[in-house]
Amino acid sequence: MRTADILSFAWISLAAGRVRSLLTLLAMSIGVAAVVVLTGVGEGARQYVVGQFSSLGTNLVIILPGRSETSSGSPSTFIGETPRDLTIGDAVALQRLPTVKLQAPVVAGESGIARKGLERRVPVLGTTASLLSIRHLHLAAGRFLPPGDPRQSRAVCVLGVKVRQELFGAQPAVGRLVRIGEHRCRVIGVLASEGRSLGLDTQEMVVVPVAFAQMLFDTEKLFRILIEGRGRAELDRLKQQVLALLTRRHHGERDVTIITQDSVLATFDRIFSMLTLTVAGIAGISLAVAGILIMNVMLVSISRRTSEIGLLKAVGASNSAVVRLIVTEALLLAGVGGLLGLGLGLIAGRLVEQIYPDLSAAPPLWAVGAALGTALLTGLLFSLLPARRAARLDPVLSLAKR
């Protein structure tokens, strides 16, 4: 038989049992829609979380001086040898690595800041222009630290919103002078109110050039070096390169700790993927139910069409042709149901997106494929039994029925 003929014959047969077919179609489409919506929402939630992490800087690598306890094992730390400090020279050298997009040395400390008799103590962060981009900071007014040689100390500062408020009130701050410690310093910008950075409240802190901070706190050491890598995929390579470079610069001593957010992210990624799979599995159960309904429909239709099957055999249908006809009917039910369900699921996903605009509820491609595939597979599996039963019917006995 030609495929087109099998399909149209199956279609005619399904159309004859309209109500039964429609109900089965409904069950199948609900099953598929459930898979599509739930995986869509699950995947959307995963991407949302990953996105949130990314906005913090997923390609962020933090270098701190000293080997962390957990990863230590080198005898040098046992001996108690003090680690070599991180220096601006280290930071500048790191910039030359191909995997490093940006680097920012950081010196942190606390100092008094004063203007016209108003004085308070604030955390002071010494860094370079790159920090703005690495930490995704924004300015409310003025400019951030100017680019240039990090070793050059310039008496400028960028204020956190609260600091600005306390020192200047309603007056404009940019261009005015303040006193930080013993040094006069010109305000060049104000940070937009933002969350926390490096454990500091950006609203409460003051940012100055790194060399200025070193002078202020009378130190050569860096508190951290922040690096933004060129890509997530290269993060491992970046870590190795950074480690190799710093080890060389520190005369063969592995005395730094490198932290990435990648591991945290990977964990979240795994958890959400698991969750999505789980819901998909649960939704899959409804597909199995739909499969059983298909089987029922096919069994009923076969018992009603016993004499017809006998007739088909009498005019030349082989047993396998009968199987093909019945299975095609089931696949048609499952396929059309699946497509309907897909449409339904996509519409429902859109609705979810309307309600939660932050969430993308578009189902992942694999889920769409899996839902349709499972629909067809259940159609196939659950129609095999009825089809084989039909094929085994004795044509003589079936034709004896009217």
Partner: protein
Amino acid sequence: MIILEEVNRIFSVGGQEVRALDGINLQVKPGEYISIMGPSGSGKSTLLNLLGLLDRPTSGRYLLSGSDVTGLDDKQSARIRNKTIGFVFQFFHLIPRLSAVQNIELPLLLAGIPPRKRREKSTAIINDFGLFERRHHKPEELSGGQRQRVAIARAVINSPSLLLADEPTGNLDSKSGLDIITLLEALNQQGLTLIVVTHDLEIGSRARRRIHFLDGRIVADS
């Protein structure tokens, strides 16, 4: 055309053996017109089902057109049923969802013949059988005689060489019965081997060769 050698068909019903066919020997030449008569339960339908490859003998041999078809597998016998044998039943066995044309084209559909060719063949037969006006009607919209015409058209559309009819007039009034048997005879005139099972003496006696059955045996063959 047909040679049956010592054919037995034994059913076992509740541990009891029923010899539906008991040592049948039969030869049929191409183009013959045979009627088979006998009391109910004497084995007429069983014989026809065997000849039509819908059933298999318990023992014995069946030669059709010179080749042994006793042990053919399902695919092979389905092919023969499709190509060389036409079946006509007492209760027509038309598919209710399909129109007259679609029912008639069914054997061609199963043979995988493309729609255009199917239409060609069915149109010719529909015209011959005077079904043109009714060709798009569903079986339930046809009279008994028309239904049997459609069924006969279906049986012969693939140009078989053997036509088996099991009480083709059994469900019709005498006028349409006569109509149908005349149609079958006309097909026989064109060279089709025709075997008709009937309870109707008048119809049975029209055949050139009449076979009488009793308890699974041939008791008269003239």
